[in-house]
């Protein structure tokens, strides 16, 4: 499998088809005398920023700390619970993951404005 072309940067949806984000990085497990194995994918702005420039990643981590949303981040999804097709489907509920923190917070604001639903 070509990890960069078939997995990295692909869209990730949960079991109900809700957009969770994109595959921001891929975690490989390397053991002696065995080929590397993909153990998980990661979804996180700080991991993504780190891919652009390490310093941007540190800034983003700092921002997550400041906004008090760093708990459970980056979100690591085990390889066993994902299916890869045109997009990556994770067998979990988006709302229960740490990736939904910002969406939840913004939704609480948006929902207060009339005609938001």
């Amino acid at each position: 499998m070509d990890l960069v072309r078939q997995l990295l940067d692909k869209k990730v949806v949960d079991r109900h088809g809700r957009e969770m984000g994109r595959v921001d990085s891929v975690i490989l497990e390397i053991a002696d005398h065995r080929p590397p194995v993909v153990s998980a994918i990661e979804l996180s702005p700080s991991v993504l920023a780190q891919r652009v420039r390490p310093i941007l990643g540190r800034w983003m981590e700092g921002l997550e700390h400041a906004l008090q949303i760093s708990a459970g981040r980056p979100l690591r999804i085990p390889f066993e619970v994902i299916t890869i097709r045109d997009q990556v489907t994770a067998d979990l509920a988006y709302g229960e993951t740490s990736a939904a923190a910002v969406e939840h917070w913004l939704r609480s604001i948006v929902a207060r404005i009339p005609r938001s639903s």
Partner: protein, 404 residues
Amino acid sequence: MSAIVDLVLGVVTSIGGFVEAGSISTAAQAGSEFGFQLLWAIAIATAMLAMLAEMSGRLAAVGKCSMAAAVRERFGIQFQFVPLTAELAIDLLLLAAEIGGVAIAIRLLTGLSFQWWVVPVGGAVWLVLWLCGFGLIEYGLGLLGIVTLSFVVSAWHLGPMVSDLGAGLLPSLPLHHHLRYGFLTISIVGATVSPYLLNFYSSGTVEEKMTEEELWVNRTTAYLGMSFGGVVSMGVLVTSALVLGPRHILVDSYAQAALMFVPAFGHWSVGLFAAALGIGCFGASVEIALNAGYLLSQVFGWSWGANKPRRDAARFTAAFSVVVAASTAVALMGFDPLRLTTIAVALTVVIMPVVVLPFLVLMNDERYVGDHKSGPVGNGVLAAITILGAVFALVVVPLEILGG
């Protein structure tokens, strides 16, 4: 039948949505300073835009993803970071310029300083985005934009010589002010081939759920709609060349540009110019703000769509809201909208190669376009546009300093 309706609506909205701050200001300046001599630049820029729009629509109809999403998947964030940042900066500046354009249009009608109108206009842009679905935004504003056809009516009324128009459509070198001529040529290309238009076009194709069988609608809309839109831009240039040029009026503000309607429309000239400028810029403002939301959501994989309830796409909603607020703040600082447009257009030209290059790869990748890959002609023209874009990107900054 519905495909025909889609087609007509698509063409009409392309015409109505074509003219905005960038195209009006560059075409008016070109006309007043060089007569019909830069008509060819509008023709070539329009052909480039039509071709790229058709491709981004094809990618969206077949691959079910927008340009920004496809670039993130195919090229990764390291490649996309620079064009993404630049595109957001362009969106911000252009949106500020468009909001300023609407505010100036209202000033022409009311006489009250344009800064009084900036916040109400920004608020109106946001309100349209908050309340309307994609169809209403696209078709409603596009239909209102038909008022911009008054540029064509005006040009027609002035009765330019057909042979002069024909001569203007052939590229030629000027007898004077070569640097200014070069600068305006590149500005016309930058104002026409805006990256926001391309991503907006492909996102719209996804929003409308266009299928592979409707590709002919996409093709016809792109080529026919954009060509007619280009004719409106040419109407601006021709009117400016025949009215402002002989009187040596240089377009350094929109109030001066408004004078171009006097011979054709008399008493109605200011009102009609204000309506064309105001509606053109307002339509573009809504599209640019929406595109900023699309862009960020698609790159980062958030839920997006103008047809979704706003709370179900909270990050998308927040993204376009923040961009509207930021641009309104920039416009409020009192920067001259014409100057903002010039900077945004120059920045567009600088990033043009990285905007066009991905087309060359994506339009030949069957994972995105299936059997509808580009042929040798399409690829050849794209390669030529990429090289041309790279040359433009190299010379735009020196030209801006020397001829801007």
